[in-house]
């Protein structure tokens, strides 16, 4: 039974090794960014615009007149009518005012891919937590009250469950990474804000997701040979926990800062 488990792990690891280095490198390059003209320090230095008094006393005064706004065609420079200034008077470049259907398509594809990335990433947390929860059933038990006693071996079912959940986690992680990799890059944008930390943490949880199952398989192999877990295999738990923490931090960082206002009506 143990031999079969080792073979399963080895198969899963082979697939992972093929995917992960690429995933790690590409995820870092995926960092998504934007062209901006105002730095955050400039924004922070600006005072808030005063809130109009009349809008509070008569909020209905400034409601939009048309509930069904008109659809317009992609923006062009409309001709000035009489005294009215036109868009061409303002001095924007054609590049700024020209519609770009190709860019819109890239943005749409990017949003789609990153939504899938987000969903899969959150779902991946479930097998990740489950793998940790059952990890106790996959390790040797030592009787601390009886020094020198033979450690109690974990059950095959416990080891198999831990390995299966771990493999599921790794497979889902790879799928999550794939959607970040395939999301189109938007030219001329530099990463800024929470996305930078989210991207940089890939360098921790990416290698961690590769190493953890390898070390787990090595540890299992040593156990099957009735050896005490030794060498790099003994780092399995440490690497796993580091990976879990980095992955969780990555998920939280992309949404940071959080302002909990669940009690407010929409």
């Amino acid at each position: 039974m143990r031999t079969i488990t080792v073979q399963r792990c080895a198969t899963a690891l082979t697939g992972l090794l093929l995917l992960s280095p690429f995933a790690v490198a590409q995820s870092a390059a995926t960092a998504t960014p934007i062209t901006t003209t105002a730095s955050s320090s400039e924004i922070a230095a600006l005072p808030d615009a005063p809130v109009p008094v009349a809008s509070q006393s008569a909020p209905q005064a400034s409601q939009p007149q048309t509930s069904a706004p008109q659809q317009s065609t992609p923006q062009t420079t409309p001709p000035a009518q009489g005294n009215q200034p036109s868009l061409s008077d303002l001095g924007f470049s054609q590049e700024q005012t020209q519609a770009n259907a190709q860019l819109q398509a890239r943005l749409n594809q990017r949003t789609h891919d990153l939504k899938v990335h987000q969903t899969l990433g959150l779902i991946t947390l479930a097998p990740l937590v489950a793998t940790i929860a059952v990890s106790g059933g996959a390790t040797q038990k030592h009787d601390r009250n009886t020094p020198g006693a033979t450690p109690v071996e974990p059950s095959s079912a416990g080891v198999d469950l831990h390995a299966a959940l771990g493999s599921t986690t790794v497979a889902m992680y790879a799928a999550t990474a794939w959607y970040a990799i395939r999301a189109p890059k938007i030219p001329g944008t530099k990463p800024k804000g929470a996305i930078r930390l989210h991207r940089d943490l890939v360098w921790i949880h990416g290698p961690g997701m590769v190493l953890t199952p390898i070390l787990g398989a090595m540890a299992l192999h040593q156990e099957n040979n009735n050896e005490k877990i030794h060498g790099i295999a003994s780092a399995h738990a440490v690497v796993a926990w580091t990976t879990v923490l980095a992955y969780t931090a990555s998920a939280v960082s992309i949404s940071w800062p959080l302002h909990l206002k669940f009690w407010e009506h929409q």
Binding site: A49, P74, L107, S255
Partner: protein, 178 residues
């Protein structure tokens, strides 16, 4: 000699009147604000440009700002905003208003706005703006009570909860007479 003096006087008066009839936007801060149960986010642009022409007692103002100049401090969010509001297909927000010239001297300016955004046009009537004189320049500040539904914007969601429909836009514009 006397007639030359009169001509010069009239010419100066005409030139002066013409100068006060045109306005140029010199400084701007335009900020959108979104609310979500776990997020409060703002994005600001200082790249708006505008002109105003006044004649026969009425004024026409035009303000435009490229959508890709708004920054929330997070490029990932800014790109998502651009996608959501169809910012590559409709890269500019264009605001037009037509108001009596006498409104320009009132401490609170009530403007009827026509806003082109995300491929839609919406009208907001009687939007109040505070007016502050800084020497020759005039600062106009207020909040436009925009909503996602006004512009048929599909509200982005996080953890399956969409943002609030209200996306108030704070504007602070400094105009210089020419």
């Amino acid at each position: 000699m006397k007639s030359l003096g009169v001509i010069l006087l009239v010419a100066t008066a005409v030139a002066s009147a013409h100068a006060q009839n045109q306005w140029t936007l010199t400084q701007s801060s335009i900020t959108w604000h979104i609310t979500h149960p776990v997020h409060e986010v703002e994005g600001t642009s200082h790249a708006a440009k505008g002109k105003g022409n006044c004649s026969a007692g009425t004024c026409d103002f035009l303000i435009a700002v490229p959508l890709n100049t708004f920054s929330s401090g997070d490029t990932n969010r800014d790109l998502h905003m651009l996608q959501t509001v169809r910012g590559a297909q409709f890269p500019m927000v264009v605001v037009r208003t037509h108001l009596p010239q006498s409104e320009l001297t009132a401490p609170t300016v009530h403007a009827d706005l026509e806003i082109q955004f995300a491929g839609q046009t919406a009208h907001y009537s009687n939007v109040p703006f505070t007016r502050t004189q800084h020497g020759a320049d005039v600062e106009i500040a207020g909040t436009i009570p925009a909503t996602c539904s006004d512009f048929k914007i599909d509200r982005p969601s996080f953890l399956t909860i969409p943002i609030h429909n209200e996306i108030p836009v704070k504007v602070d514009l400094t105009w210089h007479p020419q």
